[in-house]
Symmetry: C2
Subunit: 325 residues, 2 copies
């Protein structure tokens, strides 16, 4: 209905950082000697699982909410997500005192819905198809005037996610940065932050083998428009967004290296999750552990380097913790 | 063979803090709004599971190792522990470049032995009885001249463990302090640190119902000399040590309150462990989670207070993580 918004730029990440500074946590960088020895490189784990609402998603949601004019904000925000973006947008809206509508599909995990509701969002049920979710969002938008905040294909969201990388680059000098890719909000934001703060750092994406549209898109130069994801990484099942693809496709480090993608089997992701639990005492979700799994799967690419690894979130399904049940 | 060493005093904790300052981590204090709401008080979690070697035990071991004269240290140290103290003493000895002998019982968890060996200790197998372990220690001591560093009934160890409480009292103002009790090194050290830094803070111990000798000892005024522990808290199965009992029995806060003990069932401990995993993303061992479980079991004792909770260690048995297997 409207022309695509222009792509966000590095300056937008700096503006986002200022906008969210008093609202988001500065997350720590963790180290683990034992994992460094196994990986053959020096790992800098950015602990975004300790971010507010348990994932980096709060950065983008917070930037989007606080970028709205007072008049527009007063009509609220709307999204469809039963995962981390839904919780993040609910919390961000609460921080501004505005209403947040979240469209959630039938069959969504009860614990996740409870988290979203606990931040004060209004939940709207719909059928569990993408078409039904988008239609419900559109209906709410037209009825209420609420602003749609897409989970990743949104310039304010991308700029906000870029602050995770910007902050890490202020904390650690890095030869390479590895992060998970699903819809590509974190990855596209990293492109902007790296261009500003550390152009020589290589960007490497970790993607589940069972949802590898980003790998294929960057290989062929054409965005993939459908896939049937098969992975335990519930945060990485979405298709790479259009602006996200454009930013990643065009990106080069200062020595000309394009964005790399490493595909990881779920078994390796779960092994990495276990390694993080044992050696750092941190519980992260599979969608985060995939980044460490990528480093361990391709050690030659990282030998001796200083490598940033974004632990993107820690919102595991409690029912997946039988040992703690 | 020798008269009991005099009890450690508050000044010994200050000396220990100076001695280990460049060798141990200053661990962070964590907060979780959701758990505060459930508990009805303000919780300050002291993250000793992020201490070197994964537990507060490194503080006492490090203080003991660095308290030795150069001549005595050169003959090494010895202990019997297949758990956190063994690993802590091995790492502390490595920090001084001296040999560490660890007597380990047949049947000990392989992962724990591997951790101890990875810090450079020499392992000595023996039968899985306390008599066999003590005999093996004594034989090594007499053969090598190594100094025995008992896991908890040792004044340098107690003073070192007291630095965890001292550090927490510099980080947070507390009305009450809750920590797990097994042999009593952490608890006895807390008595000394509280006397120096915050006499009005109440001291509350959390003990597994299946190994409640400290509860009984403080009720009757007489140390218990044997029990058959039945608890998943593998770090809390030991009997309260003699000097540890003396310090705890004599302790009063500045308004006259004696040390309290709350007994906790294993099911409540596991529930607390799960709550910490979900809401703080931290993986702690059951022997640590017992402290939060105690607060949640007796909320009236803590209503509205500022409560310190020591997360004493994070060395879970990887085989107890089936979900991550």
């Amino acid at each position: 209905m409207t022309a695509p918004a222009p792509l966000p730029r590095p300056d937008d990440v700096l503006a986002a950082a200022a906008r969210i500074a008093d609202r988001a946590h500065v997350t720590p960088v963790l180290h683990a000697r034992t994992i460094d020895e196994a990986a053959g490189c020096s790992l800098h784990f950015k602990a975004e699982h300790l971010q507010r609402a348990g994932a980096f998603k709060f950065r983008g949601a917070c930037n989007a909410v606080w970028s709205l004019s007072a008049e527009v904000a007063a009509r609220g925000v709307v999204t469809h997500s039963s995962g981390n973006h839904g919780a993040a947008l609910a919390l961000a809206a609460a921080s501004r005192g505005i209403v947040c509508h979240v469209v959630v599909p039938e069959g969504a995990v009860a614990a996740k819905l409870a988290a979203i509701a606990s931040y004060g969002a209004v939940l709207h049920r719909c059928e569990a198809t993408m078409a039904a979710r988008e239609a419900a969002c559109e209906q709410l938008r037209s009825q209420t005037g609420a602003t749609l905040v897409h989970p990743y294909a949104n310039r304010d969201v991308i700029a906000g996610q870029g602050t995770a990388t910007l902050e890490l680059l202020h904390q650690s000098v890095l030869d390479a940065l590895v992060l998970p890719v699903g819809g590509g909000g974190l990855a596209a934001g990293a492109v902007l932050a790296l261009a500003h703060a550390s152009p020589r750092t290589r960007l490497v994406l970790a993607e589940p083998s069972g949802a590898d549209d980003t790998f294929r898109a960057l290989e062929t130069g054409r965005r993939v428009e459908s896939q049937t994801p098969a992975t335990v990484c519930d945060g990485l099942r979405a298709l790479l967004g259009a602006p996200n693809f454009e930013l990643l496709h065009a990106h080069r480090s200062s020595d000309g290296a394009p964005v790399e993608v490493i595909r990881v089997d779920d078994a390796a992701t779960i092994a990495a999750m276990r390694r993080l639990a044992v050696h750092t005492k941190q519980l992260v979700e599979p969608s985060s552990a995939v980044a460490l799994a990528a480093v361990l799967a391709e050690p030659a690419r990282f030998a001796g380097l200083r490598v940033g690894v974004v632990l993107s979130g820690g919102n595991v399904d409690p029912d997946r913790l039988p040992w703690l049940a």
